[in-house]
């Protein structure tokens, strides 16, 4: 399950930027064509955040839908998986316009916010 490594990368990237500051929420963008399962990230998040300044943070995930353009006929269509067949002409020559996002958008930092009960520090 690569979502564990992905979630670890998320927590590492945040703490590298914000250091010891208490994080009370995290906003991610995980496109439906990114190859990363949002539910699995949610499952791993609390586990990986434990003992870090991100522990207890609320996780908000935006999931941009897949949008694809056919290279043969220019049709733009939606896709929820990576098997990209143009509904207009049947071509598989397609270019993904959006849906592959895998981003940390923002975090909410609160120096005043109390760490959740049981957290170190």
């Amino acid at each position: 399950m690569h979502e564990l490594a992905v979630t670890q990368a998320i927590i590492d990237a945040i703490t590298e930027k914000t250091g010891e500051a208490r994080i009370c929420s995290v906003r991610l963008e995980i496109g439906v064509l990114s190859g990363v399962l949002v539910d699995a990230v949610r499952f791993c998040f609390d586990l990986v955040a434990e003992g870090t300044p991100v522990e207890g943070a609320v996780l908000v995930v935006d999931e941009p839908p897949g949008r694809v353009r056919c290279r043969d006929c220019d049709e733009v269509f939606g896709a929820d998986h990576l098997i990209l067949l143009c509904p207009a002409c049947g071509s598989a020559h397609a270019e993904v316009l959006s849906g592959r996002e895998l981003l940390i958008k923002s975090v909410e930092v609160s120096p005043a916010c109390a760490p959740p009960a049981g957290a170190p520090g």
């Binding site: 399950m1 690569h2 990368a9 990576l82 940390i104 909410e108 930092v109 609160s110 916010c113």
Partner: protein, 222 residues
């Protein structure tokens, strides 16, 4: 406002790619390989598709004085590295433990230990898995996905991320085709739905059929 305690939090915009750190390290690996003129090939497949067997064969058949060395990735054991060393070739084993893929940091450590000579070939045998390795750039020169004829023609449609990133798709174990219900044209059609550019190389790592085309591809890449 903070959802934990209601205090007024400060929003910090990050707009950062989640895998930025891995991608930076992969970029460094790529530069390191380029400086040494090393061809680095990342081999990926489901468990048992024949990665190690193809490597054993390639080491024997890829003549012309090319030095080959291998980075072996497995969750546990050094069996595959030992198989490679038995051919007289240098190999470094990485055990990922619970991890299901290699990442750029692991490869960096392994190739520094391997210390491949200039103008040589480094093969990276990734952990047998068609899902997780797809997402992690190692800094390789090319990505090869190996699928065996015993796996079913629709594999590319089930694992579009993996097959979509391949530069070459090897169809291994073609010696078994007479005993199987595997339609090669259906497989090619499935693959083309997720990848239009990959070269398709049918071969048998055990009998050696089709190995010439594979070695020719490697020489083209050098």
């Amino acid at each position: 406002m903070c959802a934990t305690c209601g205090c007024s939090g400060v929003t910090v915009e990050l707009e950062q790619r989640v895998l930025a750190h891995n991608d930076d390290l992969a970029h460094r690996n790529r530069e390191w390989f380029a400086e040494r003129e090393v061809l680095a090939v990342n081999l990926m497949s489901s468990p048992g598709a024949g990665k190690t067997t193809l490597l054993e064969r390639t080491i024997r058949d890829l003549d012309g004085g090319v030095t080959v060395s291998v980075v072996e990735g497995d969750q546990e054991t050094a069996f595959d590295a030992e198989r490679i060393r038995a051919t007289g070739c240098r190999a470094v084993q990485i055990n990922t433990g619970a991890g299901c893929h290699l990442d750029a940091a692991m490869l960096a450590r392994a190739v520094h230990e391997l210390d491949p000579p200039t103008r040589s070939v480094v093969f990276v045998e990734n952990v047998g898995n068609l899902v997780c390795p797809a997402l992690f750039d190692l800094g390789e020169s090319y990505r090869v996905v190996i699928m065996s004829a015993t796996e079913g023609e629709d594999k590319p449609l089930k694992y579009p991320h993996m097959f979509g990133t391949a530069d070459v798709v090897v169809l291994n174990k073609v010696d078994l085709l007479p005993h199987l219900d595997f339609a090669v044209d259906t497989f090619v059609r499935s693959l083309r739905q997720v990848n239009q550019r990959a070269e398709i190389l049918p071969l048998s790592a055990t009998t050696g059929a089709g190995i010439d085309a594979w070695c020719g591809q490697l020489r083209d890449w050098m």
